[in-house]
Symmetry: C2
């Protein structure tokens, strides 16, 4: 069998495995370190490929300094910065701990995390709970408002949702995401319908398990943050699907794509855990009043796990309303999705796009096609201020740099040619 | 000023008045006869233009016989039919009592009704609460399952929602409908997002006003019927908007379009309460397993009030996923909406269609344009079995017959030429 055929077959296997994943929200763990592999009290995880403290972008440094205060390891933000720079804290990237996080993606030992499990193969993934809009840790915020909310999430939100999730005996996230694509979401930057569908599932169980004033408090937090709440369920769901395609010999599909605000990196199925990186790009965005591209941090976050499985920027045709948030026109949203069929291995059986007559979403980024066609994967994303403590300043569109795909393909060629 | 200019100006006034309407759900009245004008214990209202008992279609006769049992005026369904035929019951059409109802549209003195008020001008509209899918009165069902559910709605659902609505001091339905068009609804046959948005608004107030087991029971009923629950809020909302365009001298816009399963009729702003009717059409539909067009009742219900204000069939481009329910393709859904711009007076400022780059929905059916272009208004709709007691058998697409527009235009010409 020639090598091209071997690759095609391996990619088919990958698509089939991805398609079979059944990501279920099975629990909320109140302390991440109890479940995330190889995490101790001094481990802080972040988005994107691995990076040293010194090279981290402003918002990630700020979020880490802030979370060290939350963790009780620093008395204030200045001490947080000092401790982070001291070498005492072990930094590592989420993806290498079965975890994902939006924007700075900071995940600390005592934050609560969603626990998703693939009922097909027992694999797990983890993600913190979404803080909502405004000043938030994931965009580099670290003031009292941010820390107060994180404490409320730990003390009230997460325990209540945990009871409800346990009472529900798990919630099927794939069916929520798939339905939300028929309701105007693309499940990366637009998650409104997905959040309402999650509320549909969780609310009766909240009513059964917590007192009514807590149930109401939680319900209101979810509704007020419906635009974005479901992202932190969509992402670990996508992570489980992408992870099913890992470590398949000859498979040329991307299994992770993530940014840390300094670098963007990909991992490829046949190439194990090696990261192929390029400098993170600037985002072509719509900015909130008072901000411009000069203020922007480069592309940031693990949320491009969405694009890896064919939703997010790859399914923008499902979500014409998103252009009012990330820019562009509805017809461009359709043509963007259409272009992504050129660089992907197949069409999703699960995620379908109504405006394209229910065509399956373009799934499985093939590094060979990206290089051959010079067609980069498209990303839509939020934009953080480049300095810590400010937060989100807009949202927009970008594409993954081609260089890292060239590097990955070179490595792939070395292994198999 | 020539007459053409007078008509154009009148139609502009109508669009402006429609645009200013603020339909708020202000109350749920537990007994319709307490609020619906000119309704007494022996009045039964129905959908469409006025019609005598003898000419009514099977499902409407069955729904009336059934509701007479519900009302305690008949001991069983046979007695219901006898009483209905006896001449003792006064039948009239919903529209002439500030009311609308889907399919058979039967509205009886002791059913609970939504009360909507236009905060702009104090006008009110009424609609029963939606029963959900399956065997239901609005599709001609009348057995114990149907009557039990109606009693549960009267005893549990309506009182609970009433308390919540009163506690909320009203719920803005226009903002729900407008948002739902950005979430894949067209708010006539697809109401899923609208129902979730309504649940977002009502649930915290339910938690504040009723015991938790009732709140849960109501929440589950709403979620199980989310596909359709919001229709009975969308319709009286649309009625208030359309009513704002009534009785404007020289205005050639349709202010009501409704079917009773035998006839379809329109009312025109400048022509008062006169109905111009044609035989109701058959629907080109997707049928549930075991049923075909031979089983179908002709087009039925007041729900075309949606199309009168530019949503429903006129905004199918907002709702590509609906084609899996009513038939056609996503691209046809777009071209249908585009054709409706040809026969309407303007674009909605409130209802916008993301996939058409947020173009306003085609609003205000101008009888002159319909006749001149031979272009009938498009309708999407549910399909009832032609015999009573069976219920919904499908959903599909049809268009309003041109004849009644010719008749209306003749009458318009007589008045003004």
């Amino acid at each position: 069998m020639n090598i091209k055929k071997k690759i095609e077959q391996a990619n088919e296997v990958a698509l089939e495995r991805m398609s079979n994943v059944q990501p279920i929200l099975v629990d909320i763990e109140l302390e991440a370190m109890n479940v995330i592999p190889a995490m101790d009290k001094k481990t802080i995880l972040h988005a994107g490929p691995p990076i040293d403290w010194g090279r981290m972008c402003g918002p990630t440094q700020g979020a880490i300094a802030g979370i060290l205060v939350y963790e009780g390891l620093a008395a204030n933000i200045e001490e947080g910065y000092e401790l982070a720079a001291s070498g005492e804290i072990k930094f590592d990237c989420n993806h290498d701990h079965d975890t994902v996080g939006p924007m700075t993606g900071v995940t600390s030992p005592h934050q609560p995390v969603f626990v998703l499990e693939d009922r097909e193969n027992g694999r797990k993934s983890y993600c913190t709970l979404n803080e909502g809009r405004g000043k938030v840790l994931r965009f580099g915020g670290w003031d009292f408002e941010v820390l107060d909310r994180l404490n409320w999430m730990k003390d009230i939100l997460a325990p209540a949702l945990k009871k409800a999730v346990n009472h529900a005996k798990g919630i099927d996230i794939k069916s929520i995401i798939s339905e939300s694509l028929h309701m105007g979401d693309e499940a990366h930057n637009r998650n409104r319908s997905g959040s309402y569908l999650f509320m549909r599932e969780i609310t009766p169980h909240l009513m059964d398990t917590v007192d009514v004033s807590t149930a109401k408090e939680v319900f209101l937090f979810l509704t007020q943050n419906a635009d974005i709440f479901n992202l932190n369920l969509s992402m670990p769901h996508s992570k489980l699907i992408a992870d099913a395609a890992r470590d398949i010999d000859y498979c040329s599909l991307v299994v992770a794509m993530a940014r840390n605000g300094t670098d963007i990196g990909i991992q490829v199925s046949a190439l194990g855990r090696e990261w192929f990186t390029s400098p993170a790009t600037m985002v072509d965005g719509l900015y909130f009043p008072g901000f411009s591209e000069e203020d922007a941090c480069p592309d940031l976050g693990d949320s491009t796990i969405s694009e890896v499985i064919g939703i997010g920027g790859f399914s923008m045709a499902s979500s014409p309303a998103i252009v009012s948030f990330v820019g562009g026109s509805a017809s461009e949203a359709v043509s963007r999705t259409e272009r992504m069929y050129e660089i992907t291995a197949g069409k999703s059986k699960t995620f379908t796009i109504p405006s394209l007559n229910f065509r399956g979403a373009p799934t499985g980024i093939d590094i060979r096609k990206v290089v051959e066609l010079n067609e980069p994967p498209l990303i839509n994303t939020g934009i953080a201020h480049k300095e810590a403590g400010i937060g989100q300043i807009g949202a927009g569109l970008t594409s993954a740099p081609l260089e890292m795909f060239h590097e990955a393909l070179k490595s792939f060629g070395k292994k198999y040619l």
